[in-house]
């Protein structure tokens, strides 16, 4: 019984109980009604019995009494007593009990007095009375019996029905409900593939009943769930791929300071796993290098207002779990939810230790470089000064004896010329010429050296004007005629005026020297465009040179002619080349023996 009770479904039980109660109520009402009806019928029967008495027995008894036929009266009332439910009948005649039948009873009875009336000669005379007692006990007993019968039968019926109902309910409903419940819980634990099936006979073509609706409902729900779950999974995978595989350490700090998400890469940077930070967000601060704590002070406690700016970035050092020091570049920005509510900070930390080391290295390297450069510069300056001192003293020391050589040779010629013959004069002249030549050489060399050392200015120069001034100078100091010269107008260059003057002096002097011997010398200064750059030239139609020796042209002391043919020290072109090189340009020459030469040069723009 207990097991049965346990198996019964709570729902079924409730239904049954309420149904039984209701049915019992109805039954009670019905029973009451029925009993009442029965009672009324019985009462009616009794009434009809009384009627019968009144109708049939009364006259008889009345007559019999009039006739004082005691026997007849007794027979009548015996008969009367034998009527259903009549218990006692008594005939009285003027207070004297004349006859009786049955047993008197006073409880649960109905009694009637009938006056016995005899009609005698047209007048009704009451000769006595009949007293009848009907026993109600039987009625009541019958009612009680009926009541019990009904009650018991109803009870049994109810019990049976209840049991049947329970069972039916379980078979039709509870069983399936339980299946559904179990299915739903399996569903809940993620099993979306299983189809719900209830062990029921399939009903084709009829209107789907409630369970079938549930089934189709479940199917729909399952497919929708599967769908949503899939998209969710995809979405999660997408974001997880990005988030969990970040190279840098990323985390989300909620407004209350907790860390809902810490990327796994934090182990690589700090040695601590994400959980360590999530359990105690203060770890964020405690791993910071003590010297840098101030920089990030208040970081954990910053209010929303403070965090509510555009992203912040700053660098600081941390001590990893293993005790190593690393530089971290931190960047964070505020995050807002869908409704604009502040949701915290999204933070990104990058290990920039290498970068910092590289920066430091570069800095030291730079400093070293600068130191070395200034050392080297100092060295160069020293060397330059030495060179200058050297050349200064050299030129002085070389010139002095030269002066003596030349001076005393001259003195000889002037004071003792008479004592010398032609050969002697000739010898002395050679000595003088040689000395003078050496002086020129020294001057040229000094100039060449000075050009290398001198500081260069870079100003715009009118080359046309410069050339014209040089030509005028040459004319004034060397007596060169100006007519062979032609200078192109508007030649503009950028360079050092002093150096360029020296160069033009050399080139123009050369041009004149080497054209001096021909009848119609032409010397031209101009410019042309060649491969996108401006090339300046000095062209003459003089002696020219053999291109085979062009390589020697610009070497110091190199000459392609004899000194008596064309005077010169051979330093001029070397000087020109050095000047052009200092201007970042090139110089070259083309010539043809007997036809002339062109000296071309470029200057850095």
């Amino acid at each position: 019984m207990r097991k049965l009770l346990d198996k019964t479904s709570p729902l079924g039980w409730r239904i049954v109980v309420s149904t039984v109660a209701f049915s019992t109520l109805i039954a009670l009402i019905a029973t009451a009604l029925q009993l009442y009806i029965d009672y009324r019928r019985d009462v009616q029967d009794i009434d009809s019995t009384f009627e019968q008495v009144e109708l049939s027995y009364l006259p008889t008894i009345s007559s019999a009494l009039w006739a004082t036929n005691r026997d007849e009266v007794q027979i009548s009332i015996d008969g009367l007593v034998r009527l259903p439910d009549v218990r006692y009948a008594e005939v009285t005649e003027t207070d004297r009990v004349w006859a009786k039948a049955g047993l008197p009873k006073s409880r649960n009875v109905q009694s009637r007095y009938y006056p016995l009336i005899h009609e005698h000669r047209g007048a009704k005379v009451t000769i006595g009375s009949l007293f009848v007692v009907v026993d109600m006990d039987l009625v009541y007993q019958r009612l009680l019996e009926k009541f019990w019968v009904i009650f018991i039968t109803n009870g049994v019926k109810t019990f049976l029905v209840a049991g049947f109902m329970l069972w039916m309910f379980d078979w039709l409903v509870t069983r399936h409900l339980r299946n559904i419940a179990q299915f739903a819980s399996r569903l809940g634990s993620g099993n979306l593939e299983e189809r719900l099936s209830l062990a029921r006979p399939s009903r084709q073509g009829e209107k789907p009943d409630e369970f079938e609706l549930v089934l189709s409902g479940f199917e729909l729900m399952q497919s929708n769930l599967a769908h949503s779950l899939n998209s969710l999974r995809e979405s999660e995978e997408r974001y997880r791929t990005v988030a969990d595989f970040t190279y840098d350490w990323e985390y989300w700090m909620a407004p209350d300071g907790s860390l809902p998400y810490v990327s796994p890469s934090c182990v690589r940077l700090t040695g601590y796993g994400g959980e360590a930070f999530q359990q105690d967000p203060r770890l964020l601060v405690s791993i910071v290098h003590p010297d840098d704590r101030e920089k990030i002070s208040g970081y954990l406690n910053a209010t929303e207002a403070e965090n509510n700016q555009a992203s912040r970035e700053f660098d600081f050092r941390i001590i990893t779990r293993a005790g190593a020091e690393r530089w971290i570049a931190h960047a964070d920005q505020p995050v807002y939810g869908r409704n604009g509510e502040y949701r915290g900070l999204r933070c990104s930390n990058r290990d920039i230790t290498e970068r910092k080391l590289a920066e430091a290295e570069i800095l030291t390297f730079n400093n070293e470089l600068e130191k070395r450069v200034s050392e080297r510069t100092a060295q160069l300056v020293a060397v330059n000064e030495e060179l200058e001192a050297f050349s200064y003293s050299v030129s002085h020391d070389l010139r002095t004896p030269l002066r003596s050589i030349d001076g005393f040779s001259q003195a000889l010629v002037e004071d003792y010329g008479g004592k010398l013959d032609e050969v002697g004069h000739d010898y002395l002249n050679r000595v003088r010429r040689a000395a003078q030549r050496m002086g020129m050489l020294i001057d040229d060399l000094m100039r060449l050296a000075r050009i290398t050392r001198a500081e260069m200015k870079k100003t715009p120069i009118d080359l046309t004007l410069l050339a014209q001034e040089v030509i005028a100078d040459l004319h004034k100091h060397r007596g060169y005629s100006e007519s062979p010269f032609k200078v192109q107008a508007n030649l503009a260059v950028i360079g050092d005026p002093a150096l360029l003057r020296i160069m033009m002096e050399n080139l123009l002097d050369n041009a004149w020297k080497y054209s001096s011997k021909i009848a119609e010398p032409h010397i031209e200064v101009g410019s042309l465009l060649d491969k996108g750059r401006t090339v300046y030239f000095v062209r003459d139609n003089g002696a020219g040179f053999d291109m085979a020796y062009v390589g020697k042209l610009f070497g110091a002391f190199q000459r392609l002619h004899q000194a008596d043919e064309f005077p010169g020290t051979g330093v001029g072109l070397a000087t020109c080349r050095r000047i052009i090189h200092r201007h970042g340009g090139e110089i070259w020459a083309e010539g043809q023996t007997g036809k002339g030469a062109v000296f071309s040069f470029t200057l850095m723009s």
């Binding site: 200064y392 030129s395 002085h396 010139r399 002095t400 004896p401 030269l402 002066r403 003596s404 030349d406 001076g407 005393f408 040779s409 001259q410 003195a411 002037e414 003088r432 000395a435 003078q436 050496m438 002086g439």
Partner: protein, 147 residues
């Protein structure tokens, strides 16, 4: 002006001879005092050392000063004689082989009156001396006080 003196400060004997010869060829007949180094020159000017007791009111009319001198070099001599009231206004011509810009600048900064580069070629040298003499001793006017 014949009794006016020219002070030649020159350490090189050859140059000294050539200069003297040039002066005489150039018809400059003043008395010429030769100092072999800077110290001697200053001694002469200030009446010290080997020239102690000289009458320093009688100063040269022209000083021909070489730059490269032993003991005390030309620029130092120039500086000192310009610093002393007795000699501050004396005409000084630097006569030297150097034409280094910095020497020229230094000399002028110290108050030299002219700077002449000794040419190697003796004709030019003679001519230069002659012109020098002509200019400083004949053409140029000197203040009368202090001399």
């Amino acid at each position: 002006m014949k009794d006016k003196v020219i002070l030649l400060v020159e350490d090189n004997l050859d140059d000294e001879t050539l200069t003297l010869r040039a002066l005489s060829k150039g018809k400059i007949l003043n008395k010429i005092i030769v100092a072999r180094d800077g110290a001697e020159a200053l001694d002469y000017l200030f009446g010290t050392g080997i020239y102690a007791g000289r009458d320093t009111t009688n100063q040269p009319q022209l000083i021909l000063l070489d730059l490269k001198l032993p003991k005390i070099d030309g620029l130092e001599v120039l500086k000192r004689l310009r610093a002393d009231a007795r000699t501050a206004l004396l005409p000084v011509t630097i006569l030297t082989t150097s034409n280094e810009e910095r020497d020229v600048v230094a000399s002028y900064q110290l108050g030299v009156n002219s700077y002449v580069r000794k040419p190697v070629d003796s004709d030019s040298f003679m001519e230069a001396i002659r012109q020098l003499g002509l200019y400083w001793l004949v053409l140029n006017t000197l203040p009368s006080q202090g001399l």
